[in-house]
């Protein structure tokens, strides 16, 4: 009885009837030729059938004959089919939002614009919109200041933005001439890029090196100097 488990393990592992593998391979190659030639007819329906219908048939033949799923325990087949069913479910749940570009009460403007742009480009028509859609990089120093800095440093650079209320120490006041006595442009750029701690100041000033490129940081620093009274 000691070897009972071992024998059980190998019970259905022994010799079983092998199909003619070379014949199966031959069928697969013929199917491959058909699926490559199908699109040459130029009919879309035929392409879809020869490409994807045949792919399913080929997968079936490989799974059945090479992976031996036809003689495997049934639950294995059900397991694999369940996983495929979950993928169908994923498609069913996601496609209404991602595949379609409009629905009840909504429209994916960005996706539609991209399609239009790309199709126009492909057909050789001059692009209607030369500029890329607005990205943060494209905006001016004043816009950058408003969207990122003004929250703490204030619209006029006086260090009294809405978020400054709860901060200790308070954000820098660019209007104060004393502030500029000890700082040059390179210093300000360093703080914007690397944050307050880089110059021994408060960590409340976050590093924005990942947000702005060198040019933008330089423009921002110039802009800050305009606040000086």
């Amino acid at each position: 009885m000691t070897t009972h488990e071992n024998t059980a393990a190998h019970a259905d592992h022994g010799e079983h009837a092998h199909p003619n593998y070379i014949k199966v391979w031959g069928i697969l190659v013929v199917l491959l030729v058909v699926s490559v030639c199908g699109p040459m007819l130029g009919i879309q329906a035929v392409t879809i059938i020869t490409a994807f219908g045949i792919a399913v048939v080929k997968a079936y033949l490989v799974a059945k004959n090479f992976m031996h799923l036809n003689i495997e325990r049934r639950f294995v087949v059900y397991l694999l089919l369940t996983m495929l069913a979950f993928m169908l479910l994923l498609f069913g749940g996601v496609a209404p939002d991602v595949m379609r570009h409009s629905g009840r009460n909504w429209e994916n403007i960005a996706a539609k614009a991209e399609i239009e742009r790309a199709l126009a480009k492909a057909s050789g028509v001059a692009e209607k919109k030369p500029a890329e859609p607005a990205t943060p990089q494209a905006s001016s120093a004043a816009d950058n200041y408003k969207s990122v800095c003004a929250m703490c440093h204030g619209e006029k650079g006086e260090g009294n933005g809405v978020a400054a209320l709860s901060m200790t120490p308070k954000p820098a006041n660019f209007a104060d001439p004393a502030f500029w006595q000890t700082r040059d442009k390179a210093h300000v750029e360093k703080v914007i890029r690397e944050g307050g701690p880089a110059v021994g100041k408060s960590p409340l000033m976050a590093p924005f090196g990942a947000r702005f490129n060198a040019q933008e940081i330089s423009a921002l620093a110039d802009y800050l100097m305009t606040f000086k009274k």
């Binding site: 593998y21 199966v24 792919a55 992976m67 570009h101 996706a111 492909a122």
Partner: protein, 190 residues
């Protein structure tokens, strides 16, 4: 290391190794499935991707399909040989399968370098992102399969652990099936 008793039991009615391979494949189905479902959705929603896809090389894809189908044949013949206890023949056939995998990767490398020279890189647009990600993930599976196959064939040539020939074969057929679907998705549909 000794095998624990646990490894030798088979309450579910099939050997532990094979059971685990089926679970590996089940989890691989959802990995590739998630990626391909995402791709199909974008593909159907973006008519312009058909134009992008026309730059892929159907003949390279078809040749690679043929290579993988043939390597699957040698993998299953290796399994047949292993069941008859002929470890040497099984090892030889497994190495032949590896050669098929290497050919596949070689063709892939030529194809990709050509495409990259033409300016189609991962970040060109959505289609090429999915193209390189899906084919690249598949290629990683080919490489992993080849490494395992070389280890298995080394043991098999000495007549040890012959059941593993079947297990790596099942995995290889799965990789083959993934390619069977990638081929029409990435190359034929234009």
């Amino acid at each position: 290391m000794q095998k624990p008793i646990a490894t030798t039991r088979s309450m579910a009615g099939l050997p532990t190794g094979r059971l685990a391979v089926w679970w590996v494949i089940a989890s691989e189905i959802v990995i590739f499935g998630g990626l391909l479902v995402s791709y199909i959705m974008h593909r159907l929603g973006h008519p312009e991707w058909g134009g992008y896809a026309s730059h892929t090389n159907t003949w390279a894809g078809a040749f690679n399909t043929l290579v993988l189908l043939s390597s699957s044949l040698s993998a299953v013949l290796a399994h047949q040989a292993a069941e008859r206890g002929d470890g040497k023949k099984a090892a030889l056939l497994l190495r032949l399968t590896c050669l098929g995998g290497a050919t596949f990767l070689g063709v892939k490398a030529l194809e990709w370098s050509h495409e990259i020279r033409q300016g189609f890189v991962l970040s060109t647009n959505g289609f090429w992102s999915f193209y390189y990600t899906a084919a690249g993930l598949h290629a990683l599976h080919v490489i992993a399969g080849m490494i395992i196959m070389l280890i298995v064939s080394r043991d098999a040539s000495k007549g040890r652990e012959l059941q593993r020939v079947e297990l790596i074969g099942i995995y290889w057929h799965f990789v083959d099936i993934v390619w069977i679907f990638l081929f029409p998705l990435l190359y034929i549909a234009k």
